[in-house]
């Protein structure tokens, strides 16, 4: 079934392959190869959306990525709803569902259009001026209202079910843009044998050859030549051809971001296909062949549906076989419109008239138009159009004024000339220069290793563009290491001339007029708005841009920038280059969050690190907590237990008999070399030289500024070998700090560091029965207190596999830490568990570990310290080697403020009511009756219910705390004030007898 505006014999796609689709619920038919825009036009539909601010009806302006108006929502299902899709880019597939945006209740009747009637209220800078007072109303009233009214489409409200891929790629020559120039450059580069990637945002390569019917290259029409070149490039191993791919960002050192739309054009994408693929490309050389974008004419009501760019109408006709109307008017200031008129006429479309602003236009195309009996009104302007939802007439007047004449039309094509697309060049930090002769900004000073060719470089004419591009492609490839090109350069036999044009407002929309002549369609900015911005004192184009929003948002001024600049320059009475051009920002067109996140979602959002006993713990009721990237067993709940009950049971069981705890996440570093002890002396506050092999010591590490950085137990395996442990969270940074000092401050030391955190799985067996549990499994180690006292380390075997067995305790009980090679971790745990069962032992998690150590007053770095706590503040001065000449932090800890009296010191806190458990982080005051804000003298760092003590226990940092022993302090809470007594930090077994119990 042929749609009514489909021209038989025109276009490049078979009319036989029908694709059904719907727009706002109405069914239509298009053909495969169509974009949504071409399919709508084939059905005579121009009205595609409502504008951003005034809700004015809008049609389809362009046939490409520069489209500011026809932004629609594409719906595949409830979760797959993509807003703000350019109808001119979205390829049609059978079953496509599209909906217009920014209107309620319907596209043809939109309540929000009252904004248009009240538009004097909504002039430039309106938001800035109107919503300033009263201040409080901004948050509660203005901002929510503006937010609701602003924006274009609606973001989907369900998780994105699609997946996205990513790829890093490298090449010698990257060609951005696949028109005639880009293809010529790619061909020249590819033949030298270097790696070439050539990219185009359209479904098909060819660029302007899509519409430029008069081009002939190498004996073929331009389009056919382009397809032949693409086929040749695809057949070469060193070339990657990416269509449907937009270069959205140009970053430092030729690093380019591309998004390839992999499956948005498919009716039923396979489940293995990503929706989009992010390419991050590093290129030695970049060839920019990004072409030019046609400008519209700035005249009254130039945004009515049915008014579009000349090149767009020509693309719809020559590429898609669609006539944009039956009786078409043309309004131009340059020659390229004449070719369109001839094409339309040839296809049987009536051309009502060509209105040309120029006096006496001349040339071959003009002569041909005259010969084809097309009416030409030269020296005239379109000053008015009729029709609201669709243009139905144009009113023509002499440029200088005088009598008017109104012609009926059903579409109006306009062209003010062509703007070189310098977006990516500008993003590369290149500086554009204004060419006054042709009134264009062109690439001037390059900041990166790239070159511009063809229309984006201001090169006019196909032959010159192809010559320039071919030479540039060959040169780039040669400089990047390629051989000499083999084949002949493409020969352009015929092309169309695109002479200049005009910038700024057309007659009837100039200074003093109040008509709505749009400069920026997407942001609803008119010529009047720009002039108003200047009147209100905006002098810099950057200020004008922000005041009016011209060229902002997703559009980035593709069609509007030059017009806006020209109008501002005229109003300021300055030449254009003095007013300057605003910076083009990345992305060139909007990029989905999905493609930026690509693989990093769900399980791949961040690595989840699990210990070897994770599966066992899951089976035994463990609830896990996140500690950095690690999942650690928090507590093991038996049936019917809540966290409180489980932790109480675990705490009591460990002290009564024993418990097993997975301590594998602790950082471990093997320090090896003859200078190992010397290095340890520098890294840690403690003395190490005299520590005998086989013995362990608590190690305390500071930063150079004297504050506590990390801690852990260190075992000396041999004279030249230490097994250092760190906190779980500190593992990476401690290793980094050690490497930093070793490599850059003490490079003379003969010592090396190796991370062994993941070599060893660690099972802590703690409690009075711990020795009985490990004894039957251990070979080759005498476990008696005499042979293996507290704070010792031995190497031997457990369960038949190698172990580094530590006698140490973080609970205050007799304890062991069993290190085994990680692949044996779970099996050794199971063996220990089986032995433990004979003694009523439990498995315990991090919460119980925290309670047990707090009962003993052992600090946790990062919980009881916060990067501003000194060794003395923490009350562990005994860990400092007093005779040492140097260690990291030794000088820092002598700084005046760090030794001044009144610093916060770590103390115990006992609530007067033993049943009350303090909140960690709660502030402490001396006098609760003082007025608010109270003087805070400290805070709670650790607080738990201790079942072993039968009361709550807490640690806190309190100013001058150690001088306040026995004093009563107060913790004010929202509902009450809690009384606490300052105490020592050890709540259980103060003499430490249980370590050998």
């Amino acid at each position: 079934m042929a749609a009514s505006y489909r021209i038989s014999g025109a276009g490049r796609f078979s009319h036989a392959k029908v694709a059904k689709f719907s727009f706002d619920g109405r069914p239509y038919a298009g053909i495969e190869g169509d974009t949504l825009a071409s399919a709508l036009l084939a059905n005579g539909v121009h009205l595609a959306g409502r504008s951003f601010k005034y809700h004015r009806p809008r049609g389809i302006l362009s046939a490409g990525a520069e489209e500011p108006n026809a932004l629609v929502e594409i719906r595949r299902d409830a979760a797959r709803r993509t807003p703000n899709v350019r109808a001119t880019v979205q390829e049609l597939y059978d079953g496509l569902e599209a909906a217009s945006q920014n209107r309620w209740p319907s596209l043809s009747f939109d309540v929000g259009a009252v904004n248009d009637a009240f538009s004097p209220l909504f002039s430039a800078g309106f938001y800035y001026k109107t919503f300033m007072w009263p201040k409080t109303a901004w948050k509660s009233l203005y901002e929510p209202k503006i937010r609701a009214a602003a924006g274009l489409g609606v973001a989907p409200d369900q998780p994105d079910p699609d997946h996205y891929a990513a790829r890093f790629a490298h090449c010698e020559v990257l060609v951005l843009g696949g028109g005639a120039a880009g293809l010529a450059a790619a061909l020249a580069a590819a033949e030298t044998g270097v790696r070439v990637i050539v990219v185009d945002e359209q479904a098909d390569f060819g660029g302007a050859l899509r519409f430029e019917a008069g081009a002939r290259i190498d004996g073929q029409d331009g389009w056919t030549w382009a397809q032949g070149v693409v086929a040749r490039l695809k057949a070469m191993d060193n070339v990657r051809v990416l269509n449907r791919t937009t270069a959205f960002g140009y970053y430092a050192q030729n690093f380019i971001g591309l998004v390839e739309r992999v499956s948005d054009h498919l009716a039923a994408p396979g489940r293995d296909l990503p929706r989009e693929r992010l390419w991050q490309i590093r290129a030695k050389k970049v060839v920019l062949a990004t072409g030019a974008i046609e400008r519209h004419m700035v005249f009254a009501d130039n945004d009515r549906p049915g008014i579009m760019l000349v090149s767009a109408a020509r693309t719809y006709l020559n590429h898609y076989g669609v006539a944009v109307g039956r009786n078409v008017g043309i309004y131009t200031a340059n020659d390229s419109a004449y070719a369109a008129a001839l094409d339309l006429k040839k296809a049987g479309v009536n051309v009502a008239a060509i209105v040309d602003l120029r006096d006496n236009p001349s040339g071959e195309l003009v002569d041909q138009a005259r010969a084809a009996n097309i009416e030409i009104h030269d020296g005239r302007a379109v000053v008015r159009v009729g029709g609201k939802l669709r243009v139905n007439s144009m009113t023509v007047q002499k440029r200088t004024g005088g009598g008017e004449r109104t012609l009926p039309i059903d579409a109006l094509l306009m062209s003010a000339g062509w703007t070189p697309s310098v977006h990516l060049f500008s993003q590369s930090r290149g500086k554009v220069a204004f060419n006054d002769e042709v009134k264009r900004f062109l690439p001037g000073t390059y900041a990166q290793d790239c070159v511009s060719v063809g229309a984006c470089n201001g090169t006019d004419g196909l032959a010159a563009s192809v010559d320039e591009a071919y030479a540039a492609g060959a040169k780039a490839a040669k400089e990047a290491g390629g051989k000499a090109a083999k084949s002949a350069k493409p020969k352009v036999e015929a092309s169309e001339g695109w002479s200049r044009g005009m910038l700024g407002a057309a007659p009837g929309a100039g200074p003093g007029t109040t008509v709505k002549a749009f400069v920026d369609f997407q942001n609803d900015v008119t010529a009047k708005d720009i002039r108003q911005a200047v009147h209100e004192g905006m002098r810099s184009i950057e200020h004008v841009k922000r005041f009016t929003t011209n060229g902002m948002a997703t559009d980035q001024g593709k069609t509007s920038n030059m017009h806006g600049l020209a109008i501002a320059a005229e109003e300021l009475g300055k030449p254009i280059p003095q007013v300057g051009l605003t910076t083009f920002r990345a992305p060139y067109t909007p990029v989905t969050f999905g493609s930026i996140a690509n693989h990093a979602r769900g399980a791949l959002f961040d690595p989840t690190r699990r210990t070897t006993t994770h599966g066992w713990a899951e089976k035994h009721g463990a609830v896990f907590e996140d500690v950095g990237q690690w999942k650690r067993a928090w507590y093991f709940a038996k049936a019917g237990e809540d966290m409180h009950a489980a932790v109480n049971r675990e705490c009591v069981t460990v002290r009564k008999t024993a418990g097993l705890f997975d301590a594998s996440t602790l950082g471990k570093i093997e320090v090896v070399g003859p200078d190992a002890a010397t290095f340890m002396e520098l890294m840690y506050t403690n003395p190490w030289q005299k520590l005998a092999p086989g013995r362990c010591r608590y190690g305390l590490m500071l930063r150079e500024d004297g504050f506590i950085y990390d801690d852990g137990v260190v075992g000396r395996l041999a004279e030249d070998r230490f097994h250092v442990t760190t906190t779980t969270g500190g593992a990476a940074r401690v290793m980094n700090q050690m490497e930093d000092y070793l490599q850059t401050e003490f490079p003379q030391l003969k010592v090396w560091l190796t991370s062994i955190s993941e070599q060893w799985a660690v099972v802590a067996v703690q409690g009075p029965n711990s020795r009985k549990i490990i004894e039957p499994l251990v070979e080759g180690i005498d476990l008696s207190d005499e042979a293996f006292p507290h704070m010792s380390v031995r190497e031997g075997k457990i369960c038949g596999v190698p172990t580094r067995l530590f006698r140490m305790s973080f609970s205050g009980e007799r304890g062991f830490e069993v290190n085994v090679p990680a692949d044996y971790g779970e099996a050794v745990w199971e063996a220990l568990w089986a032995e433990g069962q004979k003694h009523g032992a439990c498995a315990y998690g991090t919460e119980t570990m925290h309670v047990l150590r707090a009962e003993k007053g052992y600090i946790i770095v990062g919980q009881d310290t916060d990067g501003t706590v000194t060794v003395n503040d923490a009350g562990i001065d005994w860990a400092i080697g007093k005779k040492k000449a140097d260690f990291v932090g030794m000088r820092g800890m002598m700084r005046p403020d760090l030794v001044a009296p009144g610093r916060k010191q770590l103390v115990g806190l006992k609530t007067k009511d033993p049943n009350v458990v303090l909140e960690e982080g709660a502030q402490i005051v001396a006098d609760p009756s003082q007025p608010i804000p109270m003087k805070m003298i400290g805070h709670v760092t650790s607080s738990y219910w201790s079942e072993n003590c039968g009361r709550s226990i807490a640690l806190g940092l309190v100013a001058g705390g150690r001088e306040k022993m026995g004093q009563t302090l107060y913790v004010p809470m929202p509902d009450r004030v809690i009384e606490v007594e300052v105490s020592g930090t050890v709540f259980f077994d103060e003499k430490g007898e249980r370590l050998n119990g």
Binding site: Y251, E739, D740, T744, R891, R895
Partner: protein
Amino acid sequence: MLLIRCPYCEEERPELEFRNAGEAHVVRSANMAATSDEDFEKYFFIRSNPKGVIYERWRHIHGCARFFNAVRDTVTDKFVMTYKAGEPKPKKLPGVAK
């Protein structure tokens, strides 16, 4: 993403493999214990933060794991050169006009 030449790997590698480690050529005293408060302040707290050429330390942490020094222009982000840790501050910079 920048490309950084690692003087140990002898080639340019992607920035993702590196970590910045602050200003270079800040000398830790061989006799820390005797350092005055003023000198310690200069050593630990005061950094030059220039507009233009900066001498800084980087670590090829996800590569050869070596710390090294780099000269970079803070305005253009361009690396002028890199050199091994312990080597003196270069007297002449390639391509930088005085």
